[in-house]
Symmetry: C2
Subunit: 242 residues, 2 copies
């Protein structure tokens, strides 16, 4: 989980450029952004911001995994977003955080001070444009998740989660698909609106039924991808893998 990247951090060799907020930027625009950016690495488990905190920056995930979550006064919590490399954190035009952001693995962010970022935003339509796309993509993901939370069974929820992970993190090896889960069972339960016990039981059930193989608790093999699709209950949105 703890990968050490010794290469210098510059826009030129940035691994997330193709999908990030700056993907459409010209060389000139990149230089503008470059002036106001800074990198920071958080250890696993660290809190990046807490709901209600003043937000003085926006950022892109460069490496690692973070979660967005909301919680109720009595402690119940629901994860509302999973942030993987290239995902964007923060909202221009709002000065208080609407969610808790937590690093679940070692996490490196590319920060922009918010005020200057907003200026750049107004001046460069390419950033604004990409921001609309990102926001609308996240909106689609959130709504997909609403269907999962409101209507899917525990088993379908687990299968859907594996599907999402497989699409973004999986690697084909021969016939089957390998992936390493980015979350603990506990975090999975927060994501899926379940308890940790139910997550554990359903993982066991899917294993028993041959939908997946487990190596340890995090490494998963999917022998038959279409089987997983069925289990997730989605009306197959094509795209076997990116």
């Amino acid at each position: 989980m703890t990968q050490i990247d010794l290469s210098p951090k510059t826009c030129a060799n940035c691994p997330i450029r193709p999908r990030a907020i700056c993907s459409r930027c010209t060389a000139d625009e990149l230089m503008e952004l470059d002036k106001i950016k800074f990198y920071k690495t958080y250890p696993a488990g660290a809190s990046v911001v807490l709901m209600g905190d003043p937000m003085t920056f926006v950022a892109s995930v460069v490496s690692g995994v973070a979660t967005l979550s909301r919680s109720m006064i009595d402690g119940r919590m629901q994860m509302v977003g999973l942030l993987l490399p290239s995902d964007f954190i923060g909202r221009p035009g709002r000065d208080k955080a609407s969610y808790d952001v937590t690093a679940v693995s070692e996490l490196t962010l590319c920060h922009f001070h918010k005020k200057p970022f907003e200026k750049v935003t107004h001046a460069t339509p390419h950033v604004q444009e990409r921001l609309v796309e990102i926001a609308l993509d996240e909106l689609d993901a959130a709504r997909e998740w609403m269907l999962l939370l409101g209507r899917k069974t525990a088993r379908e929820k687990i299968a859907s989660f594996l599907l999402i992970c497989a699409r973004r993190l999986g690697r084909k090896e021969g016939e089957s698909l390998h992936l390493e889960l980015p979350l603990t069972r506990d975090a999975m339960s927060d994501y899926l609106g379940l308890t940790i016990e139910t997550v554990s039981r359903q993982m066991a059930a899917l294993k028993r039924d041959g939908v997946l193989l487990l190596e340890g608790t995090r490494k998963v093999k999917i022998p038959d991808f279409s089987r997983l699709l069925d289990e997730a209950g989605d009306d197959s949105d094509g795209a076997t893998l990116s």
Copy 2:
């Protein structure tokens, strides 16, 4: 529910201007938009678009209520958005509908042909800017809803729904707050991730406990707003009413 508006439909007397996609536009920009817009009214119950349909337009809700929903092959469905006047439908840059859009009351939309709208979007930063805001607001609402779907009890779900309705549709009359529910029990159940029976039972329970009064099935009085806030389980986000 069926209001007939005989006034001529023009941007000049548009009731939703302050919040709509065009709210920031200058007179010149409005004229550009005016060229590519057209109004259309749908009867209650009509389908506006179905998931997967080609989307040739985007639109704003002028009057009436519409819902966004997704459904699974076996018929389970989850509402993922409630569209009230001034809300925006559609997504520039995508040509297939991601959800079903349904009119739940008589519904009037202000349509823009998508292609020309996208051009205007690129040319006028004010529209782009407002689009980012709208998308991010919807994202916040969707994530709030995820907390509700994943973690709240049936009773809390009903109370939260009433709260949302009260905030956007309620009118103070003396001490108490009056509002007319925009949805049937059935649509409420789709929204809240419940069954219609549970909705009915919990409405009855809230009535029994004095949280609300019912006149018929749609007209609701809230004698004590802060009581409703408690029942919803939210960490009071201030804003008693608009």
